[in-house]
């Protein structure tokens, strides 16, 4: 193992998913400072890039920042090197999930994708209910939101399955394989 490169396999996987241009990062911090949730993060997006390039897999995957990205794309709009840090965060999530790692943040995403695979579309009420089971601590906000939306007729529980679920499944299976 190279003293600088660490886990080269991990680095290569991130580069495959997020683009080779990640290598051109100059650690300027534009992405982190643009990030609306940076103040909540243990490691900034900039550091996730550094970890990824140095093959510091455990540090990268254990960072709370992986799950705090809102996909706002401001990092991507501003990066002076044309890197797409949001896609890098996605790559880390993808690796995390493919390795079967579990986390409360990951649970929501997992449910979300499973529902797309099963139904082709998302039913938010169903999703919230399932998430409630995965993370009981979310009960308060879920209930609060539910109470707000129910009288407005915005909570639909019926399943709404599309015809092309097989195609959707194969998109996940074929395009998502490592």
């Amino acid at each position: 193992m190279s003293p600088v490169k660490g886990d080269a396999k991990f680095t290569n996987e991130v580069l495959r998913l997020a683009g080779l241009e990640v290598r051109t990062c100059i650690q300027c911090g534009t992405c982190s400072a643009a990030c609306p949730t940076a103040h909540l993060m243990d490691n900034s997006i900039r550091r996730l890039v550094k970890f990824s390039l140095e093959g510091r897999k455990e540090e990268a995957l254990a960072s709370s920042s992986v799950w705090l990205c809102t996909s706002c794309l401001l990092c991507t709009v501003r990066c002076p090197r044309g890197i797409r840090p949001k896609v890098l965060v996605g790559a880390l999530r993808d690796i995390f999930e493919r390795e079967g790692r579990k986390d409360k943040d990951q649970a929501y995403e997992d449910l979300f994708m499973r529902q797309i695979m099963d139904l082709g579309r998302i039913s938010e009420a169903l999703l919230s209910a399932e998430y409630l089971l995965a993370d009981p601590a979310s009960a308060v906000q879920t209930m609060e939101m539910g109470l707000e939306l129910l009288p407005k007729g915005k909570i639909t529980v019926q399943k709404d399955r599309i015809k092309g679920t097989d195609e959707v499944k194969s998109i996940f299976a074929e395009l998502g394989k490592g």
Partner: protein
């Protein structure tokens, strides 16, 4: 004696052919080069082989053909045997072609009646372990050289008279320096400047790094020298609209814009006229922070010190006409056209500042206290709009805290400028120092990605800034927002991994340098190429720093990329020296290697115009080659669909003769006909020789000036005549000595491969490779690999046989 010796060796019929019938007697000289060649190749065999070749009347092997004795022997034979052309089989022509050309010239032959066969670098040195095959290859190479020699034509180097006048475009510091150096050396210069004053950006700066001396104080004397120099015709407020002709004789036309003020009458008092002018507009010379009137002098030290009326702003009230005590204002003035003939052109068109409004996240144009580095330069300038005070534009108060943001519009893919603007680090270090010295209590922070202080005295300058107490934060600021009238910078301090939102009175954007849009017209007229960054490309990024690809055109200063004053001045001087060298004799010698057009065949399709890197060919019913501009690359000849264009030195017939000679006797499998460009791949093949890198003997090399010379019909001819493969080797992409010849070769080869595939020939038989002259190992590897690939394909035609049913 020699005749007797020959008679012993050859039949009477051959003897008759050689001595009685040959219309173009050729002498062949096979060089031993000590043991360098003779140690590997069988010299006797080569000599007797050469004797039997058509038109050869004498063949000798010489121990050292380049020695005085060798040369004298050749000269003697020219006289004795009435040779009218000579083939020397020895080292690379890149080494001794000039030597032998001189030698035969002394014997009374035209220097171009010489052909060399490279049997050392490209044979004996690279096939040391295969003497028999190497000797076979050498025979083919000699046969090819003799075949080409039979078709050589005497060529005359013409000289043309040239104008010794030089046009310098752009009156910034680079152009000023070029003009002064030329004029001081006695050459007449036309200096054309687009604006109403010379001086460029340097005239607007405050003190300059790394010495912090006053910019205008060191520039103003040069500006006035230009104005007063008897050999400089200053063409101010003028633009170039047309360029024709070529090196030595450029015919340039343009216009001098109407200034509406008589240059001779105006005394430059300006207060009289501008004082009564009712119109105020932002001053471009203060980058928008100050105002000027519709009648104005650009800045106090402008040269010429003459007012100018801005026709866009002027409302025509004519109060200035009444106010002028010298009667200099004249609204009737019209623009004037001019025409010049010059021998050389120096392009010193400079740069333009990056438009900071494009970085919307910094709020330039929205937040008043966000300014650019150029605006700060003007503020710091004692003659500027704030009389040297650094103030917040929103309040007019002295700024108590200032943030510098580096790399605004540089190193930034989001605005398409990935290059470093090179001067901004030093400029900010300098401005920060100036502010700190003037206002010691001001809090100053420079936000940087990397501080680039490479230059004499530059790192020391950085050190000085640090010692003065200027703060440095390694961060690229992500955005500036404004809250309750204050600016806030958001950034991550990357060295401490902390997010910061910090309030400043003033934010200075260190804006980068971009190619000047106004120079595009001139660039197109001259046919200058541009790099991907948009700046004009120089002929070689290292070795020819002030030459353009077009002969007689030189580039100085920021027109070819961002650079500091010192370097711009050096380039101005360098360009001047280059122009002097070119024109000092009053005439230039043209290499007789150019293309020429068979006017009857030309169909005026203009393909040649598109491929010519030198703009040397133009289609004016029919095509015409400007022989002064043509460098003989041959791309036009390869592109011409009706073969109306011929090369004088590397003609189609000569190359076809070489191909036929190479394939006359298929002496090994696979047999490769290889076309090598003179500058890189032929050099690489020579280097493989001098490095003794061993590789298979299969290639029969044909030297061309450029890979772009390779006409697809050459490749087809080789394959038709039984070559198993054809190699085209050019300079690495992007490094072609004729700019894009290798791209053209690539395109032609790709098309040809498609054709081959259609007719059932394996397209893999044609291979195109790139190697630099320094890459002998790569050339050797390419040959090895190609030989291997061809072995797998089998002899030419295998695929056709396989395709036949029942085969």
């Amino acid at each position: 004696m020699i005749l007797k010796e020959k008679a012993n060796h050859i039949s009477f019929k051959d003897w008759m052919r050689i001595h009685v019938q040959s219309p173009m007697p050729i002498g062949v000289y096979v060089c031993h080069c000590g043991l360098n060649i003779a140690g590997v190749l069988n010299m006797d065999e080569l000599k007797s082989f050469s004797e039997k070749l058509p038109d050869v009347v004498i063949a000798r092997d010489l121990p050292f053909s380049c020695s005085d004795i060798g040369q004298e022997q050749i000269q003697k034979d020219v006289a004795d045997f009435k040779l009218d052309r000579v083939v020397v089989a020895a080292c690379s022509p890149r080494l001794h072609e000039p030597t032998f050309r001189r030698a035969i010239t002394k014997a009374g032959l035209n220097p171009y009646m010489l052909e060399m066969a490279n049997i050392r670098e490209q044979c004996s040195w690279v096939h040391m372990d295969q003497p028999a095959m190497a000797t076979q290859k050498a025979k083919d190479l000699i046969r090819m050289a003799v075949a080409k020699a039979a078709l050589l034509q005497p060529l005359e180097s013409a000289t043309i008279p040239v104008s010794r006048d030089v046009l310098v475009v752009g009156g910034g510091v680079a152009g000023i320096q070029a003009a002064l150096d030329l004029a001081d050396s006695g050459q007449h210069v036309y200096l054309v400047e687009r604006r109403p004053t010379i001086g460029g950006y340097m005239a607007l700066l405050t003190d300059v790094f790394p010495t912090n001396d006053c910019s205008i104080c060191v520039l103003a004397p040069k500006m006035s020298d230009v104005y007063n120099h008897p050999l400089i015709t200053l063409m101010i407020y003028s633009e170039i609209l047309g360029v024709e002709g070529s090196v030595g004789n450029f015919r340039v036309s343009g216009v001098k814009k109407a200034r509406f003020v008589d240059l001779k009458k105006c005394k430059g008092c300006i207060n009289e006229c501008a004082g009564v002018c009712p119109v105020e507009v932002p001053s471009e010379y203060n980058f928008g922070i100050g105002k000027r009137k519709a009648i104005y002098v650009p800045f106090p030290q402008a040269v010429p010190q003459v007012a100018c009326v801005d026709p866009q702003a002027c409302i025509g009230c004519a109060r200035c006409i009444e106010a002028c005590p010298a009667d200099a204002v004249n609204f009737e003035e019209k623009q004037e056209e001019f025409k010049l003939t010059v021998g050389a052109i120096i392009v010193a068109t400079g740069w333009q500042p990056f438009d900071a409004t494009r970085k919307e996240e910094y709020g330039f144009g929205r937040h008043r206290d966000v300014i650019t580095s150029l605006q700060l330069e003007r503020m710091l300038n004692a003659a500027g709009p704030t009389r040297g005070e650094v103030v917040r534009p929103s309040t007019g108060e002295i700024a108590g805290s200032i943030a510098f943001l580096q790399c605004v519009g540089s190193r930034d893919a989001t605005v398409g400028n990935i290059y470093c603007s090179r001067i901004c680090c030093m400029a900010s270090l300098k401005n920060a120092q100036l502010v700190k010295e003037k206002y010691p209590d001001t809090e100053i922070t420079i936000h940087y990605i990397d501080i680039r202080a490479g230059g004499e005295g530059y790192e020391e300058f950085y050190l000085r800034a640090q010692k003065l107490g200027i703060n440095f934060v390694r961060a690229r600021v992500s955005e500036i927002d404004e809250e309750d009238g204050s600016l806030y910078l958001n950034f991550e301090d990357t060295l401490s991994s902390s997010f910061r939102r910090v309030k400043y009175d003033l934010a200075v954007l260190s804006i980068g340098l971009e190619p000047d849009k106004n120079a595009e017209v001139l660039g197109n007229l001259l046919g200058l190429s541009r790099r991907t960054d948009g700046f004009f490309e120089i002929a070689h990024p290292k070795m020819r720093p002030v030459e353009a690809h077009i002969d007689g055109v030189f580039i100085a200063g920021c027109a070819s990329g961002p650079k500091e004053i010192q370097t711009s001045i050096a380039q101005g001087s360098a360009a001047a020296a280059k122009a002097m060298r070119l024109l000092s004799k009053g005439e230039i010698e043209l290499e007789p290697t150019s293309a020429y057009v068979d006017r009857d065949l030309c169909t005026q399709c203009k393909l040649c115009e598109d491929v010519c890197p030198k703009r040397a060919i133009s289609v004016k019913s029919p095509a015409l080659v400007d022989e002064a501009a043509c460098k003989g690359c041959g791309s036009c000849a390869a592109a011409c669909p009706v073969d109306a264009i011929q090369m004088r030195l590397f003609s189609d017939q000569q190359i076809l003769a070489q191909i036929r000679a190479a394939t006359e006797e298929k002496s090994e499998f696979p047999l490769i006909v290889a076309f090598l460009c003179n500058w890189c791949s032929y050099g690489a093949a020579d280097l493989a020789g001098t490095s003794r890198i061993q590789y298979p003997t299969n290639a029969r090399n044909i030297r061309v000036m450029c890979a772009g010379r390779v006409d697809p019909s050459f490749i087809l001819e080789a394959l038709q005549r039984g070559a198993d493969g054809v190699l085209v080797a050019g300079c690495r992409l992007g490094e072609c000595h004729y700019v894009k010849g290798n791209y053209q070769a690539l395109q032609r080869v790709e098309v040809l491969k498609g054709v081959l595939e259609k007719i059932g020939i394996n397209p893999g038989r044609v291979k195109i490779v790139w190697c630099a002259a320094s890459e002998g190992d790569i050339f050797a590897k390419d040959i090895k690999q190609f030989v291997q690939e061809l072995k797998e394909m089998g002899p030419i035609g295998t695929e056709l046989k396989e395709a036949l049913p029942g085969a």
